[in-house]
């Protein structure tokens, strides 16, 4: 046994750091690979003999945005813009609706409030792709398949069901504030916008972040809705298209570059709102 307490602590810490470092490397290596190879100049698709590219270039990024060296059906800037627009709209709509639903469930007392909450919970438990075919045909009946509006509808309309975390947060805000405001003559609506919302920055940020990320990462639903309408693709299905047989030889490296580019808006938003984010998640979890 090691006698010295100091030494023992150092050894223990050393071991812990070693394990953490290994875990960290495992976790980060795919990202490092992705970023490195997005700057690779040689080869067409994956190179399997070595990990570090031999030649470096920015050409993949330039090609990605100028569409040089390929066919017109791959249009990454357009897809990026599509996704951005869809993300903005569904972010606004779903944030507002989630917060309103949460507020109603947290503050208002009405008949079958509990039942509605349960229904919401149950519906939320079904996997999203269960209703996908139904959604497709409903959208088709409305003549919306292949449009960005359809995506906004899909991403934002069910958002209210994810009320649990924000409701948990609202529950922690003392009701005394509501009562005071009511005495001063505020309506429920005014209380929500003027009292509760300004106090709920963390949870607003949390909701904004989650609903903004959705469209960037969703694949299945977008794929089904868009079909062959390449002009309205989002980045997720667009990037996958680059890997299909027809395209992979030309676009593999651009695909890597595209994957890096997709991370940019999400990262920026996240960095900007990071300090609220952690607060939001923990605060909402206190009383669920």
């Amino acid at each position: 046994m090691i006698k010295s307490y100091k030494l023992r602590r150092h050894v223990a810490n050393g071991l812990i750091y070693l394990i953490l470092a290994i875990l960290g490397i495992i976790w980060i290596s795919p990202f490092v690979y992705l970023v490195m190879h997005s700057f690779r100049a040689e080869g067409l698709i994956a190179v399997d003999d070595y990990l570090i590219p031999h030649e470096w270039t920015l050409q993949n990024y330039i090609d990605l945005f100028t569409g040089a060296g390929g066919n017109a059906s791959i249009n990454f800037p357009r897809w990026f813009l599509n996704t951005f627009v869809v993300a903005i709209f569904s972010c606004i709509i779903s944030t507002v609706s989630v917060l309103m639903v949460s507020y109603a469930f947290s503050r208002l007392r009405f008949k079958s409030r509990k039942k509605f909450m349960n229904v919401g919970m149950i519906l939320g438990m079904f996997p999203g792709f269960m209703t996908m075919i139904a959604i497709y045909y409903l959208l088709k009946a409305m003549n919306l398949t292949g449009t960005l509006v359809a995506l906004v509808i899909c991403y934002s309309c069910g958002a209210g069901l994810g009320f649990q975390i924000s409701k948990g947060f609202f529950d922690t805000i003392p009701r005394a504030l509501d009562e005071a405001a009511t005495i001063d003559g505020a309506t429920k609506n005014q209380i929500f916008w003027k009292i509760i919302l300004p106090m709920s920055k963390p949870i607003v940020v949390y909701t904004v972040l989650t609903s903004f990320i959705g469209p960037w990462t969703d694949f299945i639903l977008a794929k089904i809705i868009m079909g062959d309408n390449l002009d309205n693709y989002t980045v997720a299905i667009g990037l996958q298209k680059m890997l299909s047989n027809d395209f992979i030889n030309t676009y593999y490296k651009q695909f890597l570059a595209g994957s890096v580019v997709v991370a940019v808006p999400i990262t920026l938003l996240f960095l900007k709102m990071q300090k609220y984010y952690v607060e939001g998640v923990t605060a909402g979890g206190v009383k669920g």
């Binding site: 190179v47 066919n71 229904v119 079904f126 209703t131 075919i133 045909y137 292949g146 992979i248």
Partner: protein, 445 residues
């Protein structure tokens, strides 16, 4: 109460999901009913351009065409010509890039949202016919199409319809959907390329790879076919793969010869996705590979003057050189059964599959034509690639009527044979592997 609600919600959701499926079937059936309308003009044509009468009442025609990405620009050009040819009618035709390998899947997803005219490989034909989403070639066009294209493509495109009559379901587009050997001619000589042993030795000497995708049933079936276990359409039940009679001892010997050779050239013979061939040519790590006609252009670009093409090599089994037998198919242009403008779609498909368009595709894309006249053209007869493909097509099984259970067991066979731990000298294990593969393909395992 909660439970009841949960069940209720689940019920509602399942019902909507089923409603979705219901929509699809009804689409498909309405599709097949409009088939008959398109073939009302049954007088027969003798050129790829037809009389205006064939359009019937259709005008202000809106059509969507699916073409593989590489062909999109050319198809657009051809459609401009098409519009000029039929200048009395107005057209609004869009061309969308859609990979052929995915065409049937996309058609079956929702035929009414799919293209009116689309190209697809031969093995998808039964799926499309079974689902009733493809309209047969219009009666008036059938004789002309049959006389213009190679017999094999017509035979493979003809299936029995629901009344049991032989029906030509699609317009032949190419006669080249298969794989052949591409090589770097500074590494492998024309003489080397004749035998698998020679090719591998040459690659090994140069320290380069020979790439063959043994894990993909499409390529790996070469092992079984060469061994003698060739396919022969489907059994009468319409789903089970039929094999020809073959000599099992001989087959086992052949598979062992493959495994031995692979073991001997470990490090040279690599089982990788075919896309690695072009990539390997480009960065100089690949000496030769088995790749398909669809990658011809990128392979040529990667190698430049060093590009060489040949039919698949032979393998030496007990002193006898055996030709490798491959899977070979065709590509077709099909007409969507639920097209809103069935006559125009047929006329467009006829035009696009016609001699002139096929010739343009051969010139610009290097596709092997199915049209008999274009086949005689010197751009075809003098093309090394198209000759290699043609030679290989004579040593192949046709990629039509393939059971859905075919690919995975074949891929498994390939994976086993190239695996490090596989013992090529173990005849019993090889025999068992072959038997299991056949049983699994026939779904008897």
């Amino acid at each position: 109460m909660k439970k009841i609600l949960a069940i209720l919600m689940a019920g509602v959701l399942t019902a909507t999901a089923f409603a979705g499926c219901g929509g699809e079937t009804s689409n498909a059936s309405s599709g097949s009913s409009s088939n008959s309308g398109s073939s009302s003009n049954a007088t027969g044509v003798n050129s790829s351009t037809v009389d205006y009468a064939y359009f019937g009442e259709e005008d202000n025609v809106k059509l969507k065409v699916w073409a593989p990405d590489a062909a999109v620009n050319l198809v657009k050009k051809q459609i401009e010509e098409f519009k000029k040819t039929y200048s009395e009618k107005t057209f609004d035709i869009t061309v969308v890039a859609q990979g052929e390998s995915d065409a049937a899947t996309q058609m079956l997803n929702d035929a009414s949202a799919a293209a009116d005219v689309f190209s697809f490989p031969s093995d998808q034909l039964n799926k499309l016919v079974d689902a009733g989403v493809i309209a047969p070639v219009a009666k008036g066009f059938k004789d002309y199409v049959t006389s213009e294209n190679s017999e094999d493509t017509i035979k493979a495109g003809t299936l029995k319809n629901s009344d049991g009559e032989d029906t030509l379901y699609a317009y032949p587009e190419t006669n080249d959907n298969g794989y052949y050997m591409v090589y770097d001619n500074t590494v492998v000589t024309e003489e080397d390329a004749k035998t698998l042993e020679g090719t591998l030795a040459a690659c090994k000497k140069a320290g380069k790879k020979f790439i063959f995708d043994a894990g993909d049933g499409f390529y790996a079936c070469t092992f079984a076919f060469t061994a003698g276990a060739k396919i022969d359409g489907l059994e009468d039940d319409g789903i089970t793969q039929k094999f020809v009679e073959y000599d099992e001892d001989e087959a086992v010997k052949t598979l062992q010869a493959f495994a031995k050779l692979i073991k001997e050239y470990k490090g040279t013979f690599t089982s990788l996705n075919v896309k690695n061939v072009a990539s390997g040519f480009k960065n100089g790590t690949c000496g030769a590979g088995i790749d398909g006609s669809w990658d011809t252009k990128v392979n040529q670009d990667s190698l430049g003057d060093k590009f060489g093409a040949a039919k698949l090599p032979t393998i030496n089994v007990d002193g006898e050189d055996k030709q490798l037998i491959s899977m070979f198919g065709y590509k077709y242009i099909g007409v969507n059964g639920s097209s809103k403008y069935p006559n125009s779609a047929q006329i467009l498909a006829l035009y696009l599959s016609g001699e002139e368009c096929q010739k343009q595709r051969t010139e610009e894309l290097g596709w092997g034509p199915s049209n008999l006249n274009v086949q005689k053209d010197k751009i075809v007869t003098e093309s090394a690639v198209l000759n290699a493909i043609k030679d290989q097509s004579q040593n192949s099984c046709t990629q039509v009527n393939i059971a859905s259970t075919f690919w995975t067991p074949m891929g498994n066979l390939g994976n086993k044979l190239v695996a490090d731990e596989w013992n090529p000298d173990d005849a019993d294990a090889t025999r068992k592997l072959l038997k299991d593969t056949i049983a699994n393909v026939r779904d008897e395992g």
